[in-house]
Protein backbone atom coordinates (compact mmCIF):
# COMPACT_ATOMS: atom_id res chain seq x y z
CA UNK A 1 0.00 0.00 0.00
CA UNK A 2 1.19 3.44 -0.87
CA UNK A 3 1.81 5.87 1.96
CA UNK A 4 -0.74 8.56 2.75
CA UNK A 5 -0.34 11.65 0.60
CA UNK A 6 0.95 14.49 2.86
CA UNK A 7 -1.50 17.38 3.32
CA UNK A 8 1.15 20.08 2.92
CA UNK A 9 1.95 19.07 -0.68
CA UNK A 10 0.27 19.71 -4.03
CA UNK A 11 -0.07 17.10 -6.77
CA UNK A 12 -0.26 16.69 -10.56
CA UNK A 13 -2.24 14.21 -12.65
CA UNK A 14 1.08 12.75 -13.76
CA UNK A 15 1.85 11.79 -10.15
CA UNK A 16 4.39 14.43 -9.23
CA UNK A 17 4.29 16.18 -5.86
CA UNK A 18 5.23 19.77 -5.13
CA UNK A 19 6.23 21.48 -1.92
CA UNK A 20 5.90 25.26 -2.15
CA UNK A 21 8.25 27.45 -0.12
CA UNK A 22 7.90 31.04 -1.26
CA UNK A 23 9.07 31.25 -4.86
CA UNK A 24 10.81 27.92 -4.75
CA UNK A 25 9.20 24.52 -5.16
CA UNK A 26 10.70 21.16 -4.39
CA UNK A 27 9.30 18.33 -6.49
CA UNK A 28 9.42 14.57 -6.84
CA UNK A 29 7.22 11.64 -7.80
CA UNK A 30 4.54 10.38 -5.43
CA UNK A 31 4.69 7.22 -3.40
CA UNK A 32 1.81 5.88 -5.49
CA UNK A 33 3.93 6.42 -8.62
CA UNK A 34 7.06 4.75 -7.25
CA UNK A 35 4.99 1.76 -6.19
CA UNK A 36 3.60 1.36 -9.71
CA UNK A 37 7.02 1.79 -11.29
CA UNK A 38 8.65 -0.78 -8.96
CA UNK A 39 12.38 -0.72 -8.17
CA UNK A 40 14.08 2.25 -9.82
CA UNK A 41 17.47 1.59 -11.40
CA UNK A 42 18.20 5.02 -12.83
CA UNK A 43 17.08 8.63 -12.54
CA UNK A 44 18.04 10.99 -15.32
CA UNK A 45 18.20 14.38 -13.64
CA UNK A 46 17.68 17.69 -15.44
CA UNK A 47 20.58 20.11 -15.68
CA UNK A 48 20.70 22.99 -13.20
CA UNK A 49 19.62 26.08 -15.13
CA UNK A 50 17.16 24.16 -17.33
CA UNK A 51 14.07 26.21 -18.14
CA UNK A 52 10.96 24.24 -17.31
CA UNK A 53 7.46 24.46 -18.67
CA UNK A 54 4.46 23.09 -16.80
CA UNK A 55 3.50 19.58 -18.07
CA UNK A 56 6.66 19.27 -20.22
CA UNK A 57 9.30 16.57 -19.62
CA UNK A 58 11.70 17.36 -16.78
CA UNK A 59 13.40 14.10 -15.85
CA UNK A 60 13.32 10.39 -16.69
CA UNK A 61 12.95 7.51 -14.26
CA UNK A 62 13.90 4.01 -15.25
CA UNK A 63 12.70 0.97 -13.35
CA UNK A 64 13.40 -2.70 -13.93
CA UNK A 65 10.32 -2.86 -16.12
CA UNK A 66 9.93 0.51 -17.83
CA UNK A 67 11.22 3.98 -18.56
CA UNK A 68 8.93 6.92 -17.78
CA UNK A 69 9.03 10.66 -18.06
CA UNK A 70 8.67 12.94 -15.08
CA UNK A 71 6.91 16.18 -15.96
CA UNK A 72 7.56 19.67 -14.66
CA UNK A 73 4.77 20.60 -12.25
CA UNK A 74 5.46 24.33 -12.73
CA UNK A 75 7.18 26.60 -15.23
CA UNK A 76 10.43 28.19 -14.13
CA UNK A 77 14.08 27.29 -13.82
CA UNK A 78 15.81 24.36 -12.15
CA UNK A 79 18.06 25.65 -9.36
CA UNK A 80 19.06 22.41 -7.69
CA UNK A 81 18.86 18.67 -8.38
CA UNK A 82 19.11 15.72 -6.01
CA UNK A 83 22.45 14.30 -7.12
CA UNK A 84 22.33 11.52 -4.54
CA UNK A 85 19.79 9.80 -6.81
CA UNK A 86 22.48 9.25 -9.45
CA UNK A 87 24.20 6.63 -7.30
CA UNK A 88 21.17 5.54 -5.27
CA UNK A 89 17.95 5.78 -7.31
CA UNK A 90 16.27 3.46 -4.80
CA UNK A 91 15.95 6.42 -2.42
CA UNK A 92 12.86 7.35 -4.48
CA UNK A 93 11.32 3.97 -3.65
CA UNK A 94 12.21 4.27 0.03
CA UNK A 95 11.20 7.88 0.65
CA UNK A 96 9.38 9.39 -2.34
CA UNK A 97 8.01 12.40 -0.46
CA UNK A 98 11.26 13.18 1.39
CA UNK A 99 14.84 12.20 0.60
CA UNK A 100 13.68 11.05 -2.86
CA UNK A 101 12.98 14.58 -4.10
CA UNK A 102 14.15 15.20 -7.68
CA UNK A 103 14.54 18.93 -8.32
CA UNK A 104 14.02 22.42 -6.96
CA UNK A 105 12.49 24.93 -9.31
CA UNK A 106 12.14 28.67 -9.00
CA UNK A 107 8.60 29.50 -10.14
CA UNK A 108 8.01 31.98 -12.95
CA UNK A 109 4.22 32.02 -12.72
CA UNK A 110 2.69 31.25 -9.32
CA UNK A 111 -0.83 31.13 -10.79
CA UNK A 112 0.06 27.75 -12.24
CA UNK A 113 -0.03 26.34 -8.71
CA UNK A 114 -3.81 26.72 -8.76
CA UNK A 115 -4.00 24.01 -11.42
CA UNK A 116 -2.51 21.44 -9.03
CA UNK A 117 -4.52 19.15 -6.74
CA UNK A 118 -4.52 19.06 -2.94
CA UNK A 119 -3.91 15.80 -1.07
CA UNK A 120 -7.60 14.79 -0.84
CA UNK A 121 -8.31 15.34 -4.54
CA UNK A 122 -5.13 13.49 -5.48
CA UNK A 123 -6.01 10.50 -3.29
CA UNK A 124 -9.44 10.34 -4.96
CA UNK A 125 -7.75 10.73 -8.36
CA UNK A 126 -5.53 7.71 -7.65
CA UNK A 127 -8.48 5.60 -6.47
CA UNK A 128 -10.26 6.42 -9.73
CA UNK A 129 -7.17 5.52 -11.78
CA UNK A 130 -6.94 2.16 -10.04
CA UNK A 131 -10.47 1.23 -11.10
CA UNK A 132 -9.58 1.72 -14.76
Amino acid sequence: MAKTNPKNLKYTKEHEWVKVEGEIVTMGITDYAQELLTSLVFVELPKVGKKTEQTKTLAVVESVKSVSDVYAPVSGEVIEVNTSLTKKPEIVNEDAFGAGWIAKIIISNSKELDKLMDADSYTKFCQKEEKH
Binding site: E44, K47, E62, V67, D69
Partner: protein, 440 residues
Protein backbone atom coordinates in the same frame (compact mmCIF):
# COMPACT_ATOMS: atom_id res chain seq x y z
CA UNK B 1 7.80 -28.95 -54.57
CA UNK B 2 4.87 -26.74 -55.41
CA UNK B 3 4.85 -23.18 -54.16
CA UNK B 4 1.29 -22.33 -55.31
CA UNK B 5 -0.20 -20.85 -52.15
CA UNK B 6 -3.76 -22.08 -52.71
CA UNK B 7 -5.17 -24.85 -54.90
CA UNK B 8 -8.30 -24.35 -57.02
CA UNK B 9 -10.23 -26.43 -54.51
CA UNK B 10 -9.07 -24.31 -51.58
CA UNK B 11 -9.88 -21.16 -53.51
CA UNK B 12 -13.43 -22.37 -54.11
CA UNK B 13 -13.84 -23.18 -50.41
CA UNK B 14 -12.73 -19.68 -49.49
CA UNK B 15 -15.14 -18.16 -52.03
CA UNK B 16 -18.02 -20.19 -50.58
CA UNK B 17 -17.14 -19.11 -47.05
CA UNK B 18 -17.25 -15.40 -47.89
CA UNK B 19 -20.18 -15.78 -50.30
CA UNK B 20 -18.72 -14.98 -53.73
CA UNK B 21 -18.37 -16.95 -56.99
CA UNK B 22 -15.53 -15.23 -58.79
CA UNK B 23 -12.38 -13.42 -57.66
CA UNK B 24 -13.27 -10.13 -59.39
CA UNK B 25 -16.28 -9.78 -57.08
CA UNK B 26 -13.71 -8.89 -54.43
CA UNK B 27 -12.88 -5.74 -56.40
CA UNK B 28 -16.48 -4.59 -56.80
CA UNK B 29 -15.72 -1.64 -54.53
CA UNK B 30 -13.26 -0.19 -57.08
CA UNK B 31 -14.96 1.96 -59.73
CA UNK B 32 -14.96 0.29 -63.17
CA UNK B 33 -12.98 3.01 -64.89
CA UNK B 34 -10.12 2.53 -62.41
CA UNK B 35 -9.82 -1.21 -63.00
CA UNK B 36 -7.14 -2.67 -65.25
CA UNK B 37 -8.99 -4.41 -68.09
CA UNK B 38 -6.12 -6.57 -69.31
CA UNK B 39 -3.59 -9.04 -67.98
CA UNK B 40 -0.42 -7.64 -66.46
CA UNK B 41 2.40 -7.34 -68.93
CA UNK B 42 4.50 -10.12 -67.42
CA UNK B 43 6.26 -13.00 -69.14
CA UNK B 44 4.90 -16.49 -68.58
CA UNK B 45 6.31 -18.64 -65.80
CA UNK B 46 9.60 -20.45 -66.40
CA UNK B 47 10.80 -23.92 -65.53
CA UNK B 48 13.76 -24.13 -63.17
CA UNK B 49 16.14 -24.95 -66.04
CA UNK B 50 14.90 -21.97 -68.05
CA UNK B 51 15.08 -19.68 -65.07
CA UNK B 52 18.67 -20.67 -64.29
CA UNK B 53 19.67 -20.06 -67.90
CA UNK B 54 17.99 -16.64 -67.83
CA UNK B 55 19.72 -15.56 -64.61
CA UNK B 56 23.09 -16.86 -65.79
CA UNK B 57 22.81 -14.89 -68.99
CA UNK B 58 21.99 -11.75 -66.98
CA UNK B 59 24.93 -12.40 -64.64
CA UNK B 60 27.12 -12.91 -67.70
CA UNK B 61 26.69 -9.23 -68.52
CA UNK B 62 28.66 -8.28 -65.40
CA UNK B 63 32.22 -7.36 -66.17
CA UNK B 64 34.44 -9.27 -63.79
CA UNK B 65 37.96 -8.02 -63.30
CA UNK B 66 40.85 -10.27 -62.39
CA UNK B 67 41.66 -7.95 -59.54
CA UNK B 68 40.52 -4.72 -57.97
CA UNK B 69 42.20 -1.80 -56.22
CA UNK B 70 39.03 -0.24 -54.87
CA UNK B 71 38.10 0.36 -51.27
CA UNK B 72 36.30 3.58 -50.36
CA UNK B 73 34.10 1.95 -47.75
CA UNK B 74 33.99 -1.67 -48.96
CA UNK B 75 37.12 -3.76 -48.51
CA UNK B 76 38.21 -7.01 -50.10
CA UNK B 77 39.88 -9.12 -47.43
CA UNK B 78 40.61 -12.81 -47.22
CA UNK B 79 37.85 -14.73 -45.45
CA UNK B 80 38.97 -18.07 -43.98
CA UNK B 81 36.64 -20.93 -45.01
CA UNK B 82 35.71 -21.69 -41.42
CA UNK B 83 33.86 -18.35 -41.16
CA UNK B 84 31.26 -19.16 -43.78
CA UNK B 85 31.10 -22.78 -42.66
CA UNK B 86 30.12 -21.84 -39.10
CA UNK B 87 27.90 -18.87 -39.89
CA UNK B 88 25.92 -20.77 -42.51
CA UNK B 89 24.75 -23.37 -40.02
CA UNK B 90 20.98 -23.20 -40.18
CA UNK B 91 20.69 -22.67 -36.39
CA UNK B 92 22.31 -19.31 -37.01
CA UNK B 93 21.17 -18.06 -40.36
CA UNK B 94 17.51 -18.96 -40.05
CA UNK B 95 17.10 -17.39 -36.61
CA UNK B 96 15.28 -14.09 -36.42
CA UNK B 97 15.85 -11.56 -33.64
CA UNK B 98 15.04 -13.37 -30.40
CA UNK B 99 11.81 -12.01 -28.93
CA UNK B 100 12.16 -14.13 -25.83
CA UNK B 101 15.79 -13.17 -25.77
CA UNK B 102 16.88 -15.11 -22.72
CA UNK B 103 15.57 -18.37 -24.19
CA UNK B 104 18.35 -18.03 -26.78
CA UNK B 105 21.43 -18.18 -24.55
CA UNK B 106 23.72 -19.14 -27.45
CA UNK B 107 22.62 -16.15 -29.51
CA UNK B 108 23.09 -13.79 -26.55
CA UNK B 109 26.51 -15.24 -25.77
CA UNK B 110 27.64 -14.63 -29.36
CA UNK B 111 26.47 -11.01 -29.20
CA UNK B 112 28.14 -10.54 -25.80
CA UNK B 113 31.43 -11.83 -27.20
CA UNK B 114 31.04 -9.63 -30.28
CA UNK B 115 30.51 -6.59 -28.01
CA UNK B 116 33.60 -7.53 -26.01
CA UNK B 117 35.76 -7.68 -29.13
CA UNK B 118 34.47 -4.33 -30.41
CA UNK B 119 35.31 -2.79 -27.01
CA UNK B 120 38.85 -4.17 -27.08
CA UNK B 121 39.49 -2.97 -30.62
CA UNK B 122 38.06 0.51 -30.07
CA UNK B 123 39.35 1.01 -26.53
CA UNK B 124 35.86 1.79 -25.26
CA UNK B 125 34.01 0.54 -22.15
CA UNK B 126 30.89 -0.78 -23.84
CA UNK B 127 29.47 -1.56 -27.26
CA UNK B 128 25.93 -2.17 -28.41
CA UNK B 129 24.74 -5.37 -30.08
CA UNK B 130 25.38 -3.80 -33.54
CA UNK B 131 23.52 -1.62 -36.02
CA UNK B 132 22.52 -1.67 -39.70
CA UNK B 133 25.74 -0.35 -41.20
CA UNK B 134 28.55 2.13 -40.64
CA UNK B 135 26.74 5.12 -42.09
CA UNK B 136 23.59 4.75 -39.97
CA UNK B 137 25.75 4.07 -36.89
CA UNK B 138 27.59 7.35 -37.53
CA UNK B 139 24.33 9.25 -37.91
CA UNK B 140 23.08 7.73 -34.63
CA UNK B 141 26.32 8.81 -32.97
CA UNK B 142 25.79 12.39 -34.14
CA UNK B 143 22.31 12.43 -32.57
CA UNK B 144 23.67 10.79 -29.42
CA UNK B 145 26.23 13.59 -29.02
CA UNK B 146 23.49 16.21 -29.23
CA UNK B 147 21.46 14.35 -26.60
CA UNK B 148 24.42 14.19 -24.22
CA UNK B 149 25.38 17.85 -24.60
CA UNK B 150 21.88 19.23 -25.27
CA UNK B 151 23.44 21.24 -28.11
CA UNK B 152 21.96 20.95 -31.56
CA UNK B 153 24.99 21.43 -33.75
CA UNK B 154 27.68 19.04 -35.01
CA UNK B 155 30.86 19.60 -37.00
CA UNK B 156 31.33 17.04 -39.77
CA UNK B 157 34.74 16.60 -41.36
CA UNK B 158 34.62 16.65 -45.17
CA UNK B 159 37.24 13.89 -45.06
CA UNK B 160 34.51 11.52 -43.81
CA UNK B 161 33.21 9.12 -46.49
CA UNK B 162 30.86 11.31 -48.60
CA UNK B 163 28.04 8.76 -48.47
CA UNK B 164 28.33 8.67 -44.68
CA UNK B 165 28.17 12.46 -44.70
CA UNK B 166 24.93 12.30 -46.66
CA UNK B 167 23.42 9.85 -44.17
CA UNK B 168 24.44 12.02 -41.21
CA UNK B 169 22.86 15.05 -42.86
CA UNK B 170 19.61 13.20 -43.54
CA UNK B 171 19.26 12.01 -39.93
CA UNK B 172 20.23 15.42 -38.53
CA UNK B 173 17.87 17.30 -40.83
CA UNK B 174 14.98 15.22 -39.51
CA UNK B 175 16.03 15.93 -35.93
CA UNK B 176 16.62 19.68 -36.25
CA UNK B 177 20.34 19.27 -35.76
CA UNK B 178 22.57 21.68 -37.65
CA UNK B 179 25.50 20.09 -39.50
CA UNK B 180 28.48 22.34 -40.23
CA UNK B 181 31.06 21.13 -42.77
CA UNK B 182 34.61 20.99 -41.47
CA UNK B 183 36.98 21.35 -44.47
CA UNK B 184 40.11 19.33 -45.18
CA UNK B 185 43.47 20.54 -46.35
CA UNK B 186 45.92 18.34 -48.28
CA UNK B 187 44.11 15.17 -47.36
CA UNK B 188 43.41 15.63 -43.64
CA UNK B 189 40.90 17.59 -41.58
CA UNK B 190 41.98 21.22 -41.31
CA UNK B 191 42.77 21.84 -37.61
CA UNK B 192 42.90 25.60 -38.08
CA UNK B 193 39.34 25.52 -39.39
CA UNK B 194 38.36 23.26 -36.51
CA UNK B 195 39.64 25.83 -34.00
CA UNK B 196 37.64 28.55 -35.76
CA UNK B 197 34.42 26.55 -35.96
CA UNK B 198 34.45 25.22 -32.39
CA UNK B 199 32.19 27.23 -30.12
CA UNK B 200 29.72 26.78 -27.28
CA UNK B 201 26.92 25.69 -29.61
CA UNK B 202 28.80 22.65 -30.87
CA UNK B 203 27.73 19.34 -29.30
CA UNK B 204 29.76 16.90 -31.37
CA UNK B 205 32.66 16.68 -33.80
CA UNK B 206 32.84 13.86 -36.36
CA UNK B 207 36.19 12.66 -37.67
CA UNK B 208 36.97 9.56 -39.73
CA UNK B 209 40.19 7.66 -39.06
CA UNK B 210 41.80 6.60 -41.30
CA UNK B 211 39.87 9.19 -43.27
CA UNK B 212 38.23 8.79 -46.68
CA UNK B 213 41.59 9.48 -48.37
CA UNK B 214 43.33 6.82 -46.28
CA UNK B 215 45.26 9.28 -44.12
CA UNK B 216 45.51 9.10 -40.34
CA UNK B 217 44.11 12.13 -38.53
CA UNK B 218 45.68 13.84 -35.51
CA UNK B 219 43.11 12.39 -33.13
CA UNK B 220 44.89 13.27 -29.89
CA UNK B 221 45.20 16.92 -30.80
CA UNK B 222 41.63 17.07 -32.13
CA UNK B 223 40.35 15.43 -28.91
CA UNK B 224 42.00 18.12 -26.79
CA UNK B 225 40.38 20.91 -28.81
CA UNK B 226 36.97 19.25 -28.79
CA UNK B 227 37.01 18.53 -25.05
CA UNK B 228 38.05 22.08 -24.21
CA UNK B 229 34.56 23.25 -25.16
CA UNK B 230 32.84 20.21 -23.62
CA UNK B 231 31.82 18.64 -26.91
CA UNK B 232 31.80 14.94 -27.82
CA UNK B 233 34.40 13.48 -30.17
CA UNK B 234 33.00 10.85 -32.55
CA UNK B 235 35.52 8.70 -34.40
CA UNK B 236 34.29 6.88 -37.47
CA UNK B 237 36.22 3.76 -38.53
CA UNK B 238 35.28 2.57 -41.99
CA UNK B 239 38.29 0.23 -42.38
CA UNK B 240 38.45 -1.46 -38.94
CA UNK B 241 41.41 -3.73 -39.74
CA UNK B 242 43.40 -0.52 -39.08
CA UNK B 243 42.50 -0.89 -35.38
CA UNK B 244 44.94 -3.80 -35.14
CA UNK B 245 47.79 -1.46 -35.96
CA UNK B 246 47.18 1.92 -34.35
CA UNK B 247 46.52 3.15 -30.85
CA UNK B 248 42.81 2.62 -30.16
CA UNK B 249 40.47 5.60 -30.65
CA UNK B 250 39.61 5.32 -26.95
CA UNK B 251 43.24 5.78 -25.91
CA UNK B 252 43.45 8.79 -28.21
CA UNK B 253 40.46 10.54 -26.62
CA UNK B 254 37.36 9.46 -28.55
CA UNK B 255 34.02 9.56 -26.69
CA UNK B 256 32.03 7.53 -29.20
CA UNK B 257 33.52 5.14 -31.76
CA UNK B 258 31.43 3.88 -34.66
CA UNK B 259 32.18 2.18 -37.93
CA UNK B 260 31.45 -0.60 -40.35
CA UNK B 261 32.46 -4.17 -39.60
CA UNK B 262 32.39 -5.40 -43.21
CA UNK B 263 36.17 -5.84 -43.29
CA UNK B 264 35.81 -8.48 -40.58
CA UNK B 265 34.71 -11.51 -42.56
CA UNK B 266 31.82 -10.14 -44.62
CA UNK B 267 32.09 -10.45 -48.41
CA UNK B 268 31.56 -7.34 -50.54
CA UNK B 269 28.05 -8.60 -51.41
CA UNK B 270 27.35 -5.78 -53.89
CA UNK B 271 27.18 -3.35 -50.94
CA UNK B 272 25.36 -5.21 -48.21
CA UNK B 273 24.25 -6.45 -45.80
CA UNK B 274 27.06 -4.95 -43.75
CA UNK B 275 27.16 -4.21 -40.04
CA UNK B 276 27.52 -1.03 -38.03
CA UNK B 277 29.31 -1.07 -34.71
CA UNK B 278 29.03 1.48 -31.94
CA UNK B 279 30.95 1.81 -28.69
CA UNK B 280 31.23 4.44 -25.99
CA UNK B 281 32.25 5.18 -22.41
CA UNK B 282 30.41 3.92 -19.33
CA UNK B 283 29.10 7.38 -18.46
CA UNK B 284 27.03 7.41 -21.67
CA UNK B 285 25.57 3.93 -21.22
CA UNK B 286 21.99 5.22 -21.11
CA UNK B 287 22.47 7.43 -24.16
CA UNK B 288 23.53 4.72 -26.58
CA UNK B 289 20.86 3.57 -29.04
CA UNK B 290 20.04 -0.07 -29.69
CA UNK B 291 20.44 -2.87 -27.21
CA UNK B 292 23.20 -4.36 -25.12
CA UNK B 293 23.71 -7.90 -23.97
CA UNK B 294 24.97 -8.34 -20.43
CA UNK B 295 26.38 -11.24 -18.45
CA UNK B 296 24.96 -12.15 -15.04
CA UNK B 297 24.11 -15.15 -12.85
CA UNK B 298 20.79 -16.95 -12.70
CA UNK B 299 19.01 -17.90 -9.46
CA UNK B 300 21.17 -21.03 -9.20
CA UNK B 301 24.40 -19.10 -9.62
CA UNK B 302 25.05 -20.22 -13.19
CA UNK B 303 26.45 -17.87 -15.82
CA UNK B 304 23.63 -16.34 -17.87
CA UNK B 305 23.33 -13.77 -20.63
CA UNK B 306 20.52 -11.23 -20.68
CA UNK B 307 19.27 -8.59 -23.05
CA UNK B 308 19.77 -5.50 -20.96
CA UNK B 309 19.26 -1.78 -21.47
CA UNK B 310 16.83 -2.11 -24.32
CA UNK B 311 14.26 -0.23 -22.26
CA UNK B 312 14.86 2.91 -24.33
CA UNK B 313 14.00 1.25 -27.61
CA UNK B 314 10.99 2.10 -29.69
CA UNK B 315 8.73 -0.79 -28.74
CA UNK B 316 8.91 0.31 -25.12
CA UNK B 317 9.44 4.07 -25.28
CA UNK B 318 7.39 4.77 -28.41
CA UNK B 319 8.07 8.29 -29.67
CA UNK B 320 10.40 8.96 -26.73
CA UNK B 321 12.79 6.20 -27.82
CA UNK B 322 16.49 6.97 -28.07
CA UNK B 323 16.41 6.09 -31.76
CA UNK B 324 14.21 4.18 -34.17
CA UNK B 325 16.58 1.23 -34.25
CA UNK B 326 14.95 -1.71 -32.52
CA UNK B 327 17.17 -4.54 -33.61
CA UNK B 328 20.72 -5.51 -34.48
CA UNK B 329 22.51 -7.24 -37.33
CA UNK B 330 22.89 -10.51 -35.48
CA UNK B 331 24.10 -12.78 -38.29
CA UNK B 332 26.66 -10.20 -39.45
CA UNK B 333 27.77 -9.68 -35.83
CA UNK B 334 28.27 -13.42 -35.56
CA UNK B 335 30.34 -13.35 -38.76
CA UNK B 336 32.54 -10.60 -37.28
CA UNK B 337 32.92 -12.65 -34.11
CA UNK B 338 33.89 -15.85 -35.94
CA UNK B 339 36.31 -13.95 -38.20
CA UNK B 340 38.02 -12.20 -35.30
CA UNK B 341 38.16 -15.40 -33.23
CA UNK B 342 39.70 -17.24 -36.19
CA UNK B 343 42.35 -14.61 -36.82
CA UNK B 344 43.08 -13.62 -33.23
CA UNK B 345 46.42 -11.76 -33.00
CA UNK B 346 46.96 -12.48 -36.71
CA UNK B 347 44.59 -9.61 -37.46
CA UNK B 348 47.67 -7.46 -37.02
CA UNK B 349 49.32 -9.40 -39.85
CA UNK B 350 46.37 -8.58 -42.13
CA UNK B 351 46.76 -4.89 -41.30
CA UNK B 352 50.54 -4.91 -41.71
CA UNK B 353 50.39 -6.67 -45.06
CA UNK B 354 47.68 -4.35 -46.32
CA UNK B 355 49.55 -1.23 -45.23
CA UNK B 356 52.98 -2.35 -46.49
CA UNK B 357 51.62 -3.25 -49.91
CA UNK B 358 49.70 0.02 -50.13
CA UNK B 359 52.84 2.03 -49.43
CA UNK B 360 54.74 -0.01 -52.02
CA UNK B 361 52.22 0.82 -54.75
CA UNK B 362 51.95 4.48 -53.70
CA UNK B 363 55.71 4.94 -53.77
CA UNK B 364 56.04 3.31 -57.19
CA UNK B 365 53.12 5.28 -58.68
CA UNK B 366 54.45 8.59 -57.34
CA UNK B 367 57.63 8.07 -59.36
CA UNK B 368 55.75 7.85 -62.66
CA UNK B 369 55.59 10.95 -64.86
CA UNK B 370 52.30 12.86 -64.61
CA UNK B 371 51.29 11.22 -61.32
CA UNK B 372 51.43 12.94 -57.94
CA UNK B 373 50.78 11.36 -54.55
CA UNK B 374 48.52 13.65 -52.49
CA UNK B 375 48.81 12.06 -49.02
CA UNK B 376 51.73 12.73 -46.73
CA UNK B 377 53.48 9.56 -45.52
CA UNK B 378 50.92 8.95 -42.80
CA UNK B 379 48.31 6.73 -44.51
CA UNK B 380 46.95 3.22 -44.05
CA UNK B 381 45.69 1.10 -46.96
CA UNK B 382 44.32 3.80 -49.24
CA UNK B 383 45.88 6.80 -50.94
CA UNK B 384 45.05 9.47 -53.50
CA UNK B 385 46.96 10.24 -56.67
CA UNK B 386 46.45 13.10 -59.08
CA UNK B 387 46.65 12.13 -62.75
CA UNK B 388 46.25 14.02 -66.04
CA UNK B 389 43.04 12.24 -66.96
CA UNK B 390 41.44 9.86 -64.49
CA UNK B 391 39.13 8.18 -67.01
CA UNK B 392 42.00 7.39 -69.38
CA UNK B 393 43.96 5.80 -66.54
CA UNK B 394 41.00 3.68 -65.43
CA UNK B 395 40.32 2.58 -69.00
CA UNK B 396 43.93 1.51 -69.56
CA UNK B 397 43.79 -0.60 -66.40
CA UNK B 398 40.37 -2.08 -67.21
CA UNK B 399 41.60 -3.19 -70.61
CA UNK B 400 44.17 -5.30 -68.76
CA UNK B 401 41.63 -6.79 -66.34
CA UNK B 402 42.33 -4.44 -63.44
CA UNK B 403 39.70 -2.33 -61.70
CA UNK B 404 41.65 0.77 -60.66
CA UNK B 405 40.91 3.37 -58.00
CA UNK B 406 37.73 5.34 -57.34
CA UNK B 407 37.39 8.60 -59.28
CA UNK B 408 37.08 11.25 -56.56
CA UNK B 409 35.70 13.76 -59.04
CA UNK B 410 32.39 11.94 -58.52
CA UNK B 411 32.39 13.03 -54.88
CA UNK B 412 34.33 16.32 -54.71
CA UNK B 413 34.23 18.99 -57.42
CA UNK B 414 37.73 20.13 -56.44
CA UNK B 415 39.14 16.61 -56.81
CA UNK B 416 38.67 16.01 -60.52
CA UNK B 417 41.34 13.65 -61.92
CA UNK B 418 42.12 12.32 -58.47
CA UNK B 419 41.98 8.56 -57.92
CA UNK B 420 41.59 6.76 -54.57
CA UNK B 421 43.48 3.45 -54.57
CA UNK B 422 43.17 0.68 -52.01
CA UNK B 423 45.46 -2.31 -51.52
CA UNK B 424 44.72 -5.22 -49.21
CA UNK B 425 46.47 -8.49 -48.44
CA UNK B 426 44.62 -9.98 -51.43
CA UNK B 427 46.48 -7.85 -53.96
CA UNK B 428 49.76 -9.35 -55.09
CA UNK B 429 53.08 -7.70 -55.93
CA UNK B 430 52.68 -8.99 -59.50
CA UNK B 431 49.38 -7.12 -59.82
CA UNK B 432 50.92 -3.92 -58.54
CA UNK B 433 53.93 -4.20 -60.83
CA UNK B 434 51.50 -4.73 -63.69
CA UNK B 435 49.78 -1.43 -62.85
CA UNK B 436 53.12 0.35 -62.86
CA UNK B 437 53.99 -1.19 -66.24
CA UNK B 438 50.64 -0.21 -67.77
CA UNK B 439 50.82 3.39 -66.56
CA UNK B 440 54.49 3.97 -67.32
Amino acid sequence: MDFVPATNKEEKEMFTTIGINRIDQLFAGIAKEHRLKRELNLPAGLSEIELKREIESMAGKNRIYQTSFRGAGAYRHFIPSVVKHLVMRSEFYTAYTPYQAERSQGMLQSIYEYQTMICRLTGMDLANASMYDGASALAEAALMATRITEKKQVLLSSAVHPEYQATVKTYCHANDVKVVDLPFKTGTTDLKELKTLLNDNVGGVIIQNPNFFGSFEEIKEIAQLVHQIGAILIINVVEPTSLALIKSPGEQGADIVVGDGQSFGLPLNFGGPYIGFMATKTEYIRRIPGRLVGMTKDTQGRRAFVLTLQSREQHIRREKATSNICTNSALCALTVLVYLSTLGPKLRKVAELSMAKTHYLAKKLAKLPGIRLINSQNFYNEFVIRVKNSQTVLKKLRNQGIEGGVDLGNYYSQLKNHLLFCVTELNTKEEMDKIIKILN
